[in-house]
């Protein structure tokens, strides 16, 4: 008996250990139900000199951390009663941590957000204070209304303040272009890209015109090309499909031709640098001419190709395009946690961050170029506006088209695109079959999302 007992207990202990490690991450509590009302009341009765501690979280690189911390120090010197605790790190895992914090009721007061997540988040539950209700404390008059509507207003509420402007661009290694004798066009068409890329790759099979990866294809090239082809993004505003068998087949045929002609590095080779195109040795060593990226990525991509002359050009647009597929988008948003105990103080700080001269100059273009025209002018006047970045954004804005609907950024839909695009790139599916799969899976997922929000 003892023997079986011993074995049983070993068995159960091993099992417990196993499951506990899987599941320990899977618990959470729901303390989010709005107690905002009481919080605001508390605020109203607050004494001016009362000590207040605010938490502010963001992601970014070293230079952004430094600039933001400097600005925070400045604010704390001017407002001795306010202490701001900074919580910063890299982008990896930020969203996962944030969701857990929001779920457990331990999220910071001020939260940097990606516009990509915001719809997925607030579709579930109200999380952030509507900035319009804080109009008296924070000045949002200078923000373009259409821009806010496209990217930051959901359920009729302004979920956060955009920190900077971002847009699709093409970052070009000019040294490479000169060396390989490729013309520098003002505006490239995809047709020209394919012609030049094929020539380049035939001359030297190790070289590719465009440095790309799976996420660039999914997030940038495929939806934008489809928009150039048909004038529509993948999902319409009413959550119906923006594509059909024919348009998607054409888009995938185009995608396949990029690989077949050697414009793009085979996906198997670039897979290791997915979402880190700046780390691809081809880019670092100058064996590729262009990287499709966002304006905000310019410093990063310039950083790893320091030996070369880096400039930008407009995102490629196909001949006879119905739309450019380019649009301005916020680099990030900063939202105020609905459960914050110090909404008033958090708003004051946020307002200072976006309107104080010193603050604007300290932050510079660390969160891309500021949205407010007055801030842009201030940076320009003080020579703090990076010329390459500014020109790149200007060109994109001059050619911009309507913004995609929020549902286009849904993470699950993105995952489907990822998979289908990968199958085309690896030659596992013909463009026709891939288009059919895309339609089937998008429709199923949209139905599912629809059902879950009801």
């Amino acid at each position: 008996m003892l023997k079986t007992f011993g074995k049983l207990s070993t068995l159960s202990l091993v099992m417990l250990l196993a499951i506990a490690t899987i599941l320990s991450a899977c618990s959470g509590s729901n303390s989010n139900a709005g107690n905002q009302g009481t919080a605001v009341n508390e605020n109203a009765g607050q004494n001016k000199d009362e000590k207040v501690t605010l938490r502010f979280s963001w992601w970014g690189g070293e230079s952004r951390h430094k600039a933001t911390l400097a600005a925070i120090d400045m604010y704390m010197k001017q407002n001795p009663n306010v202490t701001i605790e900074a919580e910063y790190g890299t982008f990896d895992g930020y969203y996962q941590k944030l969701q857990t914090q929001l779920s457990g009721g331990t999220a910071p007061d001020l939260i940097q957000l990606d516009y990509l997540w915001i719809n997925d988040l607030v579709r579930q539950v109200d999380l952030f204070v509507d900035m319009y209700t804080l109009k008296d404390t924070i000045d949002i008059s200078e923000f373009d209304e259409q821009f806010l509507r496209d990217w930051a207003i959901i359920n009729g509420q302004l979920q956060g303040v955009p920190t900077g402007m971002n847009a699709l661009t093409t970052i070009v290694n000019k040294s490479f272009m000169d060396r390989e004798d490729i013309p520098m066009h003002e505006k490239w068409t995809w047709e020209q890209i394919i012609a030049e890329g094929q020539k380049l790759n035939q001359k030297n099979p190790k070289m590719f015109l465009i440095n790309s990866d799976l996420s660039t294809l999914t997030e940038k090239i495929v939806p934008s090309y489809h928009s150039q082809l048909t004038g529509k993004y993948l999902v319409n505003a009413d959550n119906t499909l923006g594509f059909d068998q024919q348009s998607m087949t054409e888009t995938f045929t185009f995608l396949k031709s990029l690989f077949d002609t050697g414009v793009l590095q085979p996906l198997g080779e670039s897979a290791l640098y997915n979402a880190k195109t700046e780390q691809n040795p081809k880019w670092i060593n100058g064996e590729t001419a262009m990287t499709i990226a966002n304006v905000a990525d310019i410093p990063k991509l310039r950083g790893t190709a320091a030996n070369f002359d880096i400039t930008t050009t407009l995102f490629p647009v196909k001949e006879n395009a119905k739309s450019t597929g380019i649009n301005a988008r916020p680099s990030q948003l900063i939202g105020i946690n609905k459960n914050s105990k110090h909404i008033e103080e958090a708003t004051k700080f946020l307002n200072w961050l976006f309107s104080d001269k010193e603050a604007i100059l300290t932050l510079g273009v660390e969160r891309s170029i500021p949205v407010k025209p007055s801030s842009q002018e201030l940076l320009l006047a003080n020579d703090k506006l990076d010329q390459v970045v500014a020109t790149s954004l200007e060109t994109a804005l001059a050619n911009q088209a309507a913004a995609p609907s929020y549902m286009n950024n849904n993470q699950e839909l993105m995952k489907i695109s990822n998979e289908v695009i990968e199958k085309v790139a690896f030659g596992k599916l013909t463009p026709e079959a891939a288009a059919a799969e895309m339609i089937e899976r998008y429709e199923a997922k949209l139905k599912e999302i629809d059902a879950s929000t009801k």
């Binding site: 023997k3 011993g6 091993v14 899987i22 618990s27 959470g28 969203y95």
Partner: protein, 303 residues
């Protein structure tokens, strides 16, 4: 629990003091293991997202998993293949190194420590990134291969190869299995080998007739532990390949994580984790049942 009750009722009252001593463990077990364990079982029957209050949905998570989710079976398949590569590879490698290190020579403990190092470092992010750069097209491994006149290989770019490359990372962390094998080797009585030598048995013969049978209990323990770990592998797939290419390394742990924290479907992820739990359980039961056919206990398995 029932058995535990019998043990206590039949025992002297003084033994209760023992419970006090182990109470930190018991409390820890209840709070950090039992609670999440049961909570996840409950969540698996709800549509819990991280933010929205949950609603009871019955079995629909499980039904969705088996009938609609296009990634469920690929993830399961990738995980099984991974276990099939990684576990035997790791055990064989650990045993080999343990046998080599089971000699008396100068600085042997230094060598043992050195060979244990990968296990300490292995799970870390830095190693996963190092691994990635070692296996790139112009990485160290490919330079070695091209040096021998063979063509360079995309270790993480070819779907069928990516899983093996990831398994290699796990095989490389053979340290803890190796230490257990070493301990087992030390337990084997010297006189058996002496008798073997007198009978004129070769080294290989002695390994298979003496060493291996006497090591089977340790092998069994290692097998269970490593398989349980392998089923839950996450770091390498997440950091190196992120599931790709073509979902060939989309391990179950990664799927769980994405569903829970990226797609905010905690209820569904809990259901998935229960399926993973049951798979591990099934495997463990089979392993325990099979034990009597291949493991050898000196005392006949009674203790």
């Amino acid at each position: 629990m029932n058995k535990l009750g019998i043990v206590f009722r039949n025992s002297d009252n003084r033994q209760w003091i023992g419970l006090l001593y182990v109470s930190p463990f018991i409390i820890g077990l209840l709070v950090f293991k039992m609670y999440p364990f049961l909570a996840s079982l409950y969540y698996s029957f709800t549509d819990f997202s991280l933010l929205k209050p949950e609603k009871f949905v019955g079995l629909s998570n499980y039904i969705y998993m088996f009938t609609k989710d296009p990634l469920f079976f690929p993830a399961l398949k990738a995980t099984l293949l991974y276990v099939l590569f990684a576990v035997p590879g790791k055990l064989a490698f650990a045993l080999l190194i343990a046998v080599i290190l089971n000699v008396n020579m100068k600085f042997i403990s230094v060598y043992r420590t050195l060979y244990y190092l990968p296990s300490i470092l292995g799970g870390s992010v830095a190693i996963a990134i190092l691994w990635r750069s070692m296996f790139t097209k112009d990485g160290v491994v490919n330079q070695f291969i091209t040096g021998m006149g063979l063509p360079a290989i995309d270790w993480f770019g070819i779907p069928s190869l990516a899983l093996i490359s990831i398994s290699l990372l796990s095989i490389w962390q053979f340290g803890s299995s190796m230490v257990l094998f070493l301990a087992g080797l030390k337990q084997i009585p010297k006189d058996l080998y002496e008798a073997g030598t007198i009978d004129g048995a070769s080294k290989l013969r002695m390994f298979f007739s003496i060493t291996f049978p006497l090591l089977t209990p340790i092998l069994f323990f290692n097998l269970i532990m490593q398989t349980v770990n392998a089923f839950q592998e996450f770091t390498a797939a997440f950091l190196i390949t992120n599931g790709g290419p073509l979902n060939s390394t989309y391990l179950f742990g990664l799927k769980l994580y994405q569903d829970a924290f990226q797609f905010a479907k905690m209820g569904y992820a809990s259901a998935l984790s229960w399926i993973l739990f049951l798979s591990i359980m099934l495997f463990t039961v089979i392993a325990f049942k099979s034990q009597k056919y291949w493991t050898h206990y000196e005392d006949g398995g009674k203790f």
